[in-house]
Symmetry: C3
Subunit: 485 residues, 3 copies
């Protein structure tokens, strides 16, 4: 840590937040690279190719409705809304960082999903016959999932980094994600349809580690902007609700056709409902006068969805989902009240959106719930074929036992944690280089740094009324300042 400290002081020169060269350069170079790599590697899969009509005949598929598009496209669109509106608006709660929240979320998601299609494609959709990656709607969903990991990480550093840093964070994040996901799902053979481990645990610890590396001891200098205003809290509720409503689609989007998707949706629906009640209860219980805190309602109500991610496609049972949701509402709200301030003060982890409470802890809980549920699976509950289907006990895993599967699930959780923490520390070191245009401590949480911000609301339409109030004293002056705006 001594070396780290001195490295830190090296990096803390005066700040230049002008990204006029670096941001366009990264965007243009990267997009050009994407075009070239897509040209070399990416093609449509057989369900999206004009040869589909021949495939149908060959495989004796009676109707176009059997195309995977119709199984997954509605869920894909819901996930898409979660990524862009859900994550984007959830972060608009800060009084003067809504442009950055929605805009940079938009940028890094659009940037990341292209790289995700390539990285995940190489691992999962490579056609060895011609060396091409064949994509379809499931790849689009997975790319959105992959991006979600990075957007979670963005939540920890919201308002404290430059857009160029975010692109670097995303580039490495996607890469790490694809490797980690391949290890967990393919090598370890863990199941994780809703990504409690792969997406949430990884993404959250990745972001927290980066935030720890980028610790700003003087962040209190922008404390005037570290909070919400009335309308920004309402905007944030748009994000909360779209995340909450569409989470059943998130957890069921890539689950097995038929009962798998059906069950995952039901479990998530129930877990989320349960979380809302315990979040409200905790928020009221720990607040002076029993008043509710918008921070909890905006965030902790979602924890149940995170925590049933792994087990949603298992026979978790409706009451099991309610129990998971119950616990997560309590744990997550508790985290916002006690852990976030503790971590900032004692662990030097500044977590703007509280992703530790919304993604990290519930993600770990989700991994554990998944391991236990898998280990407890029996043929009497699942049916012989159902068990094999649900846990994909096929090929080399034909004779695998549920208890062993439980162990593999736990191993998967550990891998997600290691990749998150390890990767975050490495990327955090890179992001400390003084070349990325990050803001000074007193410019954090302020859209002025990277955006053309319009004149303030106060100064324009109410002008006549404003002048009214001071009709007798300040008219001349205020008119004068008006014209200068």
């Amino acid at each position: 840590m001594g070396a780290c400290q001195s490295f830190r002081s090296l990096c803390d020169g005066p700040k230049n937040t002008n990204v006029r060269l670096s941001l366009p350069a990264v965007c243009f170079v990267w997009q050009t690279a994407m075009i070239i790599l897509f040209g070399i590697f990416i093609r449509y899969n057989e369900e999206a190719d004009t040869h589909w009509i021949e495939v149908r005949k060959e495989h004796n598929i009676s109707s176009d409705i059997e195309n995977d598009f119709y199984f997954r496209y509605p869920s894909f669109q819901d996930v898409h809304v979660m990524i862009f509106v859900g994550f984007g608006f959830l972060m608009t709660f800060l009084k003067r960082y809504s442009f950055g929240a929605v805009g940079f979320n938009f940028l890094i998601a659009a940037f990341g999903l292209q790289w995700a299609l390539l990285m995940q494609g190489w691992f999962h959709s490579l056609d060895y016959a011609d060396g091409k990656i064949k994509i379809g709607v499931e790849n689009l969903i997975n790319a959105d999932f992959c991006v979600a990991g990075c957007l979670i990480a963005y939540g920890a550093v919201l308002g404290k980094v430059s857009p160029v840093q975010l692109l670097v964070l995303t580039l490495f994040g996607i890469t790490l994600f694809a490797v980690e996901e391949y290890i967990i799902l393919n090598l370890i053979h863990a199941r994780d349809a809703g990504g409690s481990m792969v997406i949430h645990t990884f993404g959250a610890y990745y972001g927290l580690s980066i935030s720890w590396m980028l610790y700003r001891p003087n962040l209190h200098q922008s404390s005037r902007l570290q909070g919400s205003v009335y309308h920004s809290d309402v905007f944030a509720m748009i994000g909360t609700l779209f995340l909450w409503m569409f989470w059943p689609s998130f957890n069921s989007a890539i689950a097995d056709h038929g009962d798998g998707q059906h069950r995952a949706a039901i479990n998530t629906y129930l877990a989320l409902a349960s979380t809302v009640l315990t979040t409200v209860a905790m928020s009221s219980l720990f607040q002076k006068h029993g008043k509710l805190d918008m921070v909890h309602i905006q965030n902790s109500t979602l924890a149940g969805g995170v925590a049933v991610g792994t087990a949603a496609e298992f026979m978790l049972m409706p009451y099991g989902s309610l129990i998971v949701g119950f616990c997560c509402g309590v744990v997550s709200t508790f985290g916002y009240i006690y852990l976030t301030p503790f971590m900032e003060k004692h662990l030097k982890i500044q977590d703007t959106c509280g992703i530790h409470n919304l993604h990290a802890m519930p993600g770990v809980i989700g991994g554990i719930v998944g391991a236990i549920t898998a280990a407890a699976a029996t043929e009497s509950v699942y049916g012989k074929e159902g068990l094999a289907n649900t846990f994909d006990f096929e090929g080399a895993y034909e004779h695998m036992l549920p208890s062993t599967q439980g162990g593999h699930q736990a191993a998967g959780l550990c891998v997600a944690l290691c990749f998150g923490i390890g990767g975050g520390i490495l990327v955090g070191i890179i992001l400390r280089l003084p070349i990325w245009g990050d803001p000074a401590d007193d410019n954090c949480f302020d859209d002025e740094t990277y955006w053309e911000v319009p004149e303030d609301e106060e100064s324009i339409p109410p002008v006549p009324q404003y002048n009214n109030h001071m009709r007798n004293k300040n008219v001349a002056e205020s008119h004068f300042t008006m014209e200068q705006n």
Copy 2:
């Protein structure tokens, strides 16, 4: 009414709005009860269970796409958006009650849907073989529908009740709903796919009766907060539009597979389009200078969707839908202009959101339209099989005539009215008990009562500019007050 008056004066002591004990207690106890009851009663149905693969073989189902999930899940998600974003944001129009509108809507919906799964399950999805309720996606939709009734009722009392009162209102509301729905659909054999009677008529009269029981003669004390501001009206339009757009999914969500869902969507789409035009016409015609009123645009444009709820799955014909929409736009806007003030003044019914105009009258119209359309059905229009399918003339009802069905529809409407008014009065009496933490008359419509509200927008980001305007006079003072905030 004399007894009622004196009961009222008994209840009107000084108000304590601290819900720090009652709200968490209700949430925790209730959620625990739900877990226990779900553990005892609720299981997945055969389409969401891992045994689905065996069911498929048994019933010779050729593809997973036949799972009800794929017929109904997209509509379910649309309905889900209507419940949480639609109803929630529609009520954000008040200048300082957006947290309460969106937040309490969120709370009671999440609370209610669990109880609805149980209540409706006992009536409709109980598997007598093992005494378990078997749930699937259709149950989730019905739970959302059931909750909608209570959210409509919330519209009448918006801003005047405590969250604990809302939970009580919801608990009884769901219970009454499930009984009423069972009587109307199963005992009376009325059809009501979009719930004009079951949801809207019941919910609206339930809410209006409660509001009547909770009449506040001195509500004018918070009149400064009874209105919108510019931005809150725009937020409310988010609610309006999501309700308007997804209403075709609402009315078709549980209609028959195939032509039933298809027709219900078309009819609702057309009725809503027609309502927009007559609402705009009425709003402009009755306003000084022909200016449009946001209250009408936000609410009355939806009345057509309510009113085709029952008949949407019948052969109402496209022009029939337009006619229903036409009338509802006129009636609903007229209600906002004349009836709401009349009811407040002369009937002592304070209806914050005007649910009488948006749900009660259009709901009754919808019930009547349904009865007429059913009574007028003929084999020449529907086809022999089509008639039996549409009205479910099977089993004991095999030889039922359309004209008789029309009578049953009308009987259903009466049941909905009775349950709404009767139930509302009873629950209203309970809610008058002085133990629920409801606000005083001058604290109504104010988020401060139950929420931690952030500092005002004015006082923070514009500070530098604000000081600018008074650079010469007030700098020292305003800096001083700033620091005290």
Copy 3:
């Protein structure tokens, strides 16, 4: 142009913006006409009619899931969201025209879609057996598409016209659209699933021509309202994101079942992702200090979706989509920076939302990309059957060559341009008549003109705090002015 000038001066009398008679009259008369015409002409098609059960047996359709409803309804709902929330909120960026943006968008969409069902129905869905138009979910999508053309045109004249003018613009716009679409798709046999030519090129030039005819030399008189405020930019991002997210559904909604819809969605997803990066790059590169401009992020990020509209269902290839998106982000942002001011100053075209950059140029690019992609199609890439399917080489066109198809595509683009410009000039002349209640130059962009606008936010809830700041000097006065509000 001399005649045009003098006609202009004729029309520029004093303005009366009272629409209390004209607006209700148009709405009531039109809606009544719609009911009559729907009564005469419009019926359900066989998939939405109760006779569907017989159709199934006759055509040996094994399941209700084969009903077109299940192929297209999820896409329809996404398109519906784009029309009402997407277009509506995208235009809320102006500081005091959010009611007009969302509200008039709502009005003209609901008005237009009814007329579109009739106009398009006569051309495409007329059943010659009984002279009725038979509608189903695909007709609803096409009606929404048709309306989109007029909403694009609204973007050019936003804030400068009365609602009555908008209804006239829509009435003629829908009519022209239906004719133009019939010529392009049926007579010329061009393909245009996502409507680059039919919707965007036509709509944009229609709107620009109208704006040119309605040129206001003194528009600078309302320059105080021609801009955004912080929150209005966030509202506009709601529109941007819903348009961006659901554009894959827009371009795939009426594409061929199976691979056609699948491929169209993938191509659009990729093109849009690419556009975001180049838009951000251009915005930063051309702005002082490299700051991003919300105008570009809100609009230019969507240009890629417009430009793959025609070719989305072809084998454009994933890298092809990225290239199209890349170019459009550059061209569109460049347009906002240089072309829009140029056009206003030198061509007298005042384009409030910059539709020239978002729809006109990308639309033309899309038409050209479609022509090239079609001309370059080969059997080796598409497969023999795939080629015939994709370009609909059936019946009279059985032996058509891709190169010829390319020529037809180009011809289609020219027709769209001619109809847009020609139709716009004609309708513009009509809209100059001094009878429509359009606002004076200094009343543009102001909701006060046609809406009851609530009191300003400033003057109500913050009152106590506001007084605080001036406690020592202005208390008496400001209280006094408060009470006068």
